[in-house]
Amino acid sequence: MIRFFSLSVFLAIAQSAHAQDKPVDALAALRQAADKAASDWDALAKGLELRIARLLPCDPTSRAAVEEVSRASDARLAALAAYLKAAVAKAKDDTESAKRVLAAQASLAGGWNTERTEADQQGASIEAQVADLKESMRKRASLAGAEQGLTEIARMVKERAGKATDLAARKDVVNALLGDLVVACQDRQTAIEKESAQLDVETARWSGYYAARLARAVTECAIVNHPSGAPPRKKLP
């Protein structure tokens, strides 16, 4: 029964570990996509003014060039948003995992106190055995070998208690470090969530900027067609 239960728990954990690998791969793919989209936009954005400078203000290619960069910007922001959304999910998983490890490690580390107590109790019990055996040795010297063996066992148990004491002392250290790890994971998750929310705001700002840039192109064309700024005359029939 215990073995079946143990096997079930092991399989559940193994399945969870396997499932965790997939988001990491997906995250890497999203990051690559975001990097490529950002690189595409960067190249178009840097070359925009040079391209437009060679065109007449009302050349339709000029307006199309601005719109192309604007679309590239939208694409790279969408790719970055998808990546950040996945990064937030991964950061949440990391935080939850760190919390689980903290809880499990605290329990395991606490076991060393139990180990020490048990070793001390066993040591006391063996000392009583040694005392009894010594009494018996008064009548039976042939028990000397057994007495030496029991004394050696007492030494081993004492040594075990000492090691358990050393490791029990590490309990607070490891708990504090894992507590720090949980806090740092939580901070990281919060920072990425904030970054994701700020990207939404930034996306709106980019749209506003490209709208303004396009409006300038329209204005430049209008000035060329109507230099005085007067409204265009109606075509004569």
Partner: protein, 359 residues
């Protein structure tokens, strides 16, 4: 998902507790099987040897249960260590870097500002419209610059937290590995203890065979004491002469006999006055490697002589611990067995049984 993980964790912890309970039950069963074996061993005989065999079997069961518990705990600890080694958050990728955005905003802002400046004093209505369009573009770039800066702050926060995670994880991993090594060591030690218990019960079984003989036999190489100038012994209540107790006694450096803590040296002085004995014991004992205990022991004892061969007196150590000392005349005139026990004091020698020779 979170609830499922929590349930899995609780299940693992319950399993660990159950395994510990299993080996505790096996240990308790072993210890309760024959608690008087050592006390009864002096009687000797095949029955005692059989009892030792039974205890050996119970000890083996207990060791196996403990080993199983430790192996399960090692598996749990290995999972924690593996997560810290492999599955923790990695460094923040470059996709969240806003350097290109910031550069773009800075370049375009400068370009727009220069153009606005160029047209600043142009009265042409069309140019004024263009300047207004440029001003709106500049406003959009300013708002964009602030948004990019805000996102960079959050990205910096994520980077900082990631660096802190790496530090904490490295240090926690070090502790986790130490715990894992400790568990593996405990498991190996359990195997060694199991072997030692098996050997102990085997020796006990052997030791109870044959006729009984006391421990205070003349050790090989110790010459029997002879009095070169014999004098009449003083009257005493003891069944053996007072000289068998009083005087200066020391621990021989060769052919020494002891049980319990091994002495490096022991000096015992025993005086007698009108049937009352006073004495001092000063000794130093060998401690196990790594022990931080006090190897030195000093105590005084006193009491009235009794009409028995073995004399028992109360003692008081220099640390204030009480106890008893038993002086047992050896088979030879120049040998004295000294057996003492004190109250337990942390790090102090509390019992020994040694055979001393007269100085």
């Amino acid at each position: 998902m979170r609830r499922a993980c929590l349930l899995a964790l609780v299940a693992v912890l319950c399993l660990a507790q159950r395994a510990r309970d299993d080996y505790r039950a096996a240990y308790t069963a072993w210890r309760k099987t024959d608690p008087n074996l050592e006390r009864d061993a002096s009687a000797g005989g095949a029955a005692i040897a059989q009892r030792a065999d039974r205890m050996a079997a119970e000890a083996a069961k207990s060791a196996a249960a403990r080993k199983a518990f430790l192996e399960g705990t090692i598996a749990d600890q290995s999972q924690q260590t593996a997560w810290l080694e492999n599955s923790g958050p990695g460094p923040e990728p470059a996709a969240t870097n806003t350097k290109s955005d910031s550069q773009f905003v800075a370049t375009e802002s400068a370009r727009v500002a220069r153009t606005i400046e160029t047209f600043s004093s142009d009265p042409d209505k069309g140019i004024q419209q263009l300047r207004q369009a440029l001003a709106r573009e500049r406003t959009a770039l300013e708002a964009l610059g602030l948004a990019v800066a805000d996102r960079q702050k959050s990205a910096d926060g994520a980077d900082l937290a990631t660096a802190f995670i790496a530090q904490s994880r490295t240090r926690a991993l070090e502790q986790s590995r130490a715990m894992l090594e400790g568990l593996k060591d405990a498991s190996a030690q359990t195997a060694r203890e199991a072997e030692a218990w098996a050997e102990y019960y085997r020796k006990l079984g052997e030791g109870v065979q044959g006729a009984a003989t006391p421990i205070t036999q003349v050790p090989p190489g110790v010459p029997p004491a002879t009095l070169s100038n014999p004098a009449p012994a003083p009257p005493t209540v003891t069944p053996v002469p007072l000289a068998r107790y009083i005087g200066a006694w020391t621990y021989p450096q060769t052919n020494a006999m002891y049980h319990g803590a091994q002495p490096e040296f022991i000096d015992v002085l025993v005086h007698e006055d009108n049937g009352r004995v006073t004495g001092t014991v000063f000794g130093r004992f060998k401690l196990p490697a790594g022990s931080t205990g006090d190897p030195v022991l000093r105590f005084d004892f006193a009491g009235d002589l009794q009409p028995t061969r073995n004399q028992v007196f109360n003692l008081l150590t220099s640390d204030g611990a009480k106890g008893t000392i038993e002086l047992i005349p050896g088979p030879a005139f120049n040998l004295l067995e000294v057996n003492f026990q004190t109250e337990p004091k942390p790090g102090k020698i509390r019992q020994a049984d040694v055979v001393l020779v007269k100085k």
